[in-house]
Amino acid sequence: MNKKKDNSNLMMTLLKGRTLFVLIILFIFFSIKADSFCTVNSLLLVCKHVAQYGILGIGMTYVIITGGIDLSVGSVVGLVGMIAGGLIQEGLTLKFAGVTLYFSVPAITVICIIIGIIIGIVNGALIAKCKLAPFIVTLGTMYIGRGLANIRSGGNTFSSIKGQEALGNVGIMQFDSRVFAVGGFPGIPIAAILFLILAVIAAFVLKKTPFGWHILAIGGNEKAARLSGIKVEKNIILVYAISGACSALIGLVTMAQIAASHPNTGDTWEMNAIAAVVLGGTSMAGGVGTIGGTVIGAFVIGIINDGMTMCGVSEFWQKVIKGLVIILAVLIDQFQRNLQAKMALQARNENK
């Protein structure tokens, strides 16, 4: 019997670390298949892309832990890009005063993050206060955001977003800069640094603060959480606000990376974020999840995307493979949960 228990413990460890194993296998696979994959330059590029899914995934992890979902993140990315691009290229014209205001890049950053937060608060308030289904609410704001992004420019692209010294609004390209460049080393993309910092903070908040445990409790059993005195509505609104802020940040980073603001930027990115979260072992039913898992999940998605591109796999097949990986991940997740339940039962019987 003891041996059996050891076996299930070993199995558990393997299952818990599954995404990490997948990541390692993928890494080795692409290193062998694509010559250009395992080079400093490509890896840094992968990191840059991973940061994109990862930062969106951090906000999404919180949302999914409460048992919700945020479909609006992709269009917030697009909308924020258009607003920031517009503010740099055209400024804010106040017709009644006949002046055009140009903001500095830090001010634009703050404005954009606040817009992201406001969209998040609207999502959260509709979900928590009006008891609407998260899927529907964020589907709605997804369309609204995308629509507004297109309305801003009539569907056109803002392409001169570098700013002008005379107007004091240069600097948005800082979001695509690299740091720690020494000698031949091209430096780490700033997005990756941001991702690292945010991931550490988010993991800390989730594990070590009452807020983190409160959202885990809400996702696990909202009724019990409420009766334990947890302010469920406030926490849910906060969670969507965080997701909105993460999306806004990615909006800025992406516009800098592509050096333009296009209204369709970020289309379907919410799906990448959700995929990263789910691959990371966060339960769509709520109550279970980690930031560390999401980070690994984001790397898996990133490596599949870039690795397959470097191998010359067509974009269409990439989608098929990504889909299969996600379904497989959830399948294994289910298997793990069953095993866990079995082990809990076993522990219960042994405690008798």
Binding site: T209, W213, K223, A224, I230, Q346, A347, N349, N351, K352
Partner: protein
């Protein structure tokens, strides 16, 4: 077991075994179900009663062992097969669809059709009939999720009664959430079913009920068969002794305190709660609670017991009336505010409202007081450990490791965790809604000990219960509610079963 008795036995189970990974839930158990009788199956939690019933009802398959229905060997792959042979089960944990209405629940997977379309006219009519037979009229169109637990239980029973060819009906603790009058209705129904030749397997923790309704008792302990006997040959102490291996009953704790001289911690004046569609759920209820006192609130289902707690915890902002804590009038806003005001609630439904199943034991205990476990904004592992360990020790929760999942604990220990969570917020007033529901006698006694222990330390406790024996054992004073009206208040020697039952009917005309 003489052969000539065989025709009195509708179902025989022989050498039943069920092995779960790492444990034997059933170990070579023999069990007979007598035709047209109430067959009582009894044992503490984890004794294997529910496991045995799951094999009979086809929910699980035995690891080994044989079952004979009317002398013919049977095995059920699933509940549909068991049902086809006439075995029905009412689960301990209700298995209804809260999102559907009454008749949909009753006819789920048994739909009457008109061509390819469900025939709701027949559904409604038959639902009405069966509920009338139960003397428990509920609107067939009502949504089940809106009904009280007691009413839901009746739906569960009705669901089995619409089967024409029912031979055996298994009832797993059907009365754990019913009030005395509802229990009597149920017993009457059970006798009627017996008269129709339907055999009943009845699982209950309430020993007095078993003596009243049971015909034949089988006792299990730790997955093994212990004894069986006809109810007329035995008494309660015999059962208790067989179940636990020793003599246990609820000890009444004598407390020699002059309540007049104690401070009043809580005073509720004219608490009113309007009912949807007119009338009152609570109609001018007033009571006082002294320091260190255990106040019982007794009443039938729907008398307004739980509503009193819900009002006090801020779940019904629409209530009216005045509430004073330590002589100061307070305005009840929301739960978080009420916890700050010194209230703590141990909810009625442990699984649905008490526990967060995805969190471990430690977090379930510290959940309500995470903010006090903090240095600034960060959780202090050390503080949390210290509080939780003290709590675990204080109320004797049996845990091997506090980081195990909460569901790895037995029902009694889970309940203690919920109590621990409430107590950890350092309340002045502890509200307990059916604190011993669904836990075995041993754990019950322990829960009562915990309640007494905290009362001795000066915590004031209000305890809602539908079990008379429980009220008698722990309450210093009992308020009886009936139909939303406070009909009586008893102290000390006045707290008798007769008084309580009588008062609990007074609010009905």
């Amino acid at each position: 077991m003489a052969e000539n008795k065989d025709k009195d036995i509708v179902m025989k189970c022989r050498h039943m075994e069920k092995v779960y990974p790492g444990t034997k839930a059933l170990d070579d158990v023999d069990f007979n179900i007598y035709r047209g009788k109430v067959n009582v199956l009894i044992g503490e939690n984890g004794a294997g009663k529910s496991t045995l019933m799951k094999q009979i009802a086809g929910i699980e398959q035995p690891s080994s062992g044989k079952m004979y229905l009317d002398g013919e060997e049977v095995s059920f792959k699933n509940t549909t097969e068991a049902r086809a042979k006439g075995v029905g089960i009412i689960h301990q944990e209700l298995s209804l669809f809260p999102n559907l209405n009454v008749y949909q629940n009753i006819f789920m997977n048994n739909e009457q059709k008109k061509g390819v379309v469900v025939n709701n006219e027949i559904h409604k009519q038959k639902t009405k009939e069966v509920l009338e037979r139960l003397e428990y009229p509920i609107d067939p169109e009502a949504k089940v999720g809106d009904l009280r637990v007691g009413q839901q239980q009746m739906i569960e029973i009705a669901r089995n009664l619409i089967q024409d060819d029912l031979k055996i009906l298994i009832m797993d603790e059907p009365t754990s959430s019913l009030s005395q009058s509802e229990v009597q209705v149920l017993f009457k129904i059970m006798r009627e079913l017996n008269a129709q030749g339907i055999s009943i397997v009845y699982i209950s923790h309430r020993l007095e009920e078993i003596m009243e309704i049971g015909d034949h008792v089988t006792i299990l302990r730790d997955g093994k068969y212990v004894d069986d006997a006809a109810v007329k040959d035995i008494d309660v102490p015999w059962i208790v002794q067989k179940m636990t291996g020793s003599n246990k009953s609820y000890p009444k704790k004598e407390r020699d305190i002059d309540w007049e001289k104690q401070d009043t911690v809580l005073e509720v004046k004219d608490l009113c709660l309007p009912k949807k569609g007119g009338g009152w759920l609570l109609d001018h209820v007033s009571f006082k609670l002294k320091r260190g006192e255990i106040l019982g609130i007794y009443g039938l289902m729907g008398a307004g017991r739980t509503e009193v707690f819900e009002c006090l915890m801020g779940l019904h902002p629409e209530h009216t009336g005045e509430v004073y804590v330590d002589g100061k009038k307070i305005k009840i806003k929301n739960i978080a505010e009420q916890i700050k005001n010194g209230f703590a609630l141990v909810p009625e439904d442990r699984q649905a409202e008490g526990l967060v199943q995805t969190l471990d034991i430690e977090k379930n205990i510290s959940l309500s007081s995470l903010k006090t476990c903090c240095n600034k904004f960060v959780l202090s592992k050390q503080k949390e450990d210290e509080y939780v360990d003290a709590q675990i020790k204080d109320i004797h929760i049996k845990v091997a490791d506090k980081h195990l999942p909460i569901l790895s604990l037995s029902g009694g220990n889970q309940q203690k965790c919920v109590i621990g969570k409430g107590v950890l917020t350092d309340p002045k007033i502890l509200l307990m809604d059916e604190p011993s529901r669904g836990i075995d006698i041993g754990a019950k006694t322990e829960v009562f000990d915990i309640i007494n222990q905290y009362a001795d330390r000066g915590l004031s406790i209000i305890c809602v219960s539908s079990e008379l024996k429980e009220m008698l054992a722990i309450a210093n004073r009992v308020v009886v509610l009936s139909n939303g009206i406070k009909t009586a208040e008893f102290t000390d020697d006045e707290i008798t079963e007769d008084n309580l039952v009588l008062a609990s009917y007074k609010g009905h005309h």
